[in-house]
Subunit: 206 residues, 2 copies
DNA sequence: TAGATTGTTAATCGATTAACAATC
DNA sequence: TAGATTGTTAATCGATTAACAATC
């Protein structure tokens, strides 16, 4: 997969395309044009074609895109065609919610370890995963080839947890804590902070 | 507040500034320069100054920004200096997590109604809020001046719920369901879909 | 005053959209 | 063939960054 230089904006749209294409698959729809995709996703068809064309020629002129083929290709591009293990740190309500949510929808991108420091929680199971103490972060991440950490601890602990994840070799962090994490440039961070989202939404009310 | 034409990129950065400024407030730091902010948030100082300057002259040349004053101003800009009621639809793990999360951190932007159709859940309380059946969405939203809906129902139900929220007069939707919602242009939607975030993150691994 | 830092203009950079030849 | 739709180039639009006069 040769990548000239793909902007984050493009990468963020790929999962949106994928999600809708999978819906089409479920409805047994075989082909789709950029025009139809644009209609449904409220996007410019030229943008969709251009986004896809960064990665290859996936369509056929005069016909459109073959849904199943495009689904596979986007999965390859996003690297979710192979297993990718995630660790969740913080087994509060949000953490538990995510580990359930995750189990049902994403088999290849799944949470394989959960950590929390509460004595009540250590040793109990969420689905099939036993909650471990934070002491075991480093060893477990290395042993189980975990490359992504999901942070759902309270804000004051988030940076410390991030440092330990980075130190253990994690390559990406999904951060639900309301702080700006500082990590080395070889580690990617995505923020998913409810407060930030709600505040942004508030701006547009009225 | 005169607004020439503010891009979403700018609006999305304001809560990030706010969050860090509030941290400075907690540390009793009185003033801060765009350079310092840029260092901590990993952003270009010129961008920070420009973002703020869209809304007024909040700083002092040679000095920087007064933290407390800037916090108040950003709150005003985002319209989170006044009460804004939210309804949560879907009292699953994620929904419960959000209603707790929310209660602690945001007094003015708070969840004041929770809906679910599960017989087990209706009538039980989350914090101080009683879970109501979906039947009561329209009446409750109108009676309580709810302007924001937070959707945490399963994907297949999300569009139906969105339609009902819009029909009841909601102006903004925070959508946690993995679907692209279709709403009229006077309603704002923000998507907070874990799957999309994780898939985007996967692209950057290795 | 000298040093620091804003607000803002101008320059650069990048992303989106339009247009169209290629072709199914 | 005629109509449809891609992939891609060129044009447009918008966002970020640099630079600096104003001024605390």
């Amino acid at each position: 997969m040769k990548t000239p230089k793909i902007s984050e904006a493009v990468v963020r749209r790929l999962p949106v395309y994928l999600r809708y294409l999978q819906q089409l698959q479920d409805s047994n729809i075989r082909t789709v044009s950029s025009y139809e995709l644009g209609q449904k996703l409220d996007m410019n068809p030229a943008q969709i074609r251009k986004d896809l064309a960064y990665f290859g020629e996936f369509g056929r002129k005069g016909i459109g895109y073959e849904v199943g083929y495009l689904v596979e290709k986007i999965k390859q591009i996003l690297k979710i065609d192979r297993h990718l293990n995630c660790a969740l740190i913080g087994a509060g309500h949000l953490g538990i919610a995510l580990s359930n949510y995750n189990r049902f929808t994403q088999e290849k991108l799944c949470i394989t370890a959960i950590f929390d420091n509460s004595v009540d929680k250590i040793g109990t199971e969420v689905g099939t995963i036993k909650i471990q103490p934070l002491d075991e972060i480093e060893r477990t991440i290395q042993d189980r080839d975990i490359l992504i950490g999901i942070i759902t601890v309270p804000a004051p602990e988030a940076q410390k947890v991030a440092d330990r994840l980075v130190g253990s070799g994690v390559k990406g962090i999904l951060n639900f804590a309301p702080v700006s994490l500082r990590v080395p440039s070889h580690v990617s961070v995505r923020n998913a902070d409810l407060t930030t989202e709600l505040q942004t939404l508030a701006y547009y009310i009225d």
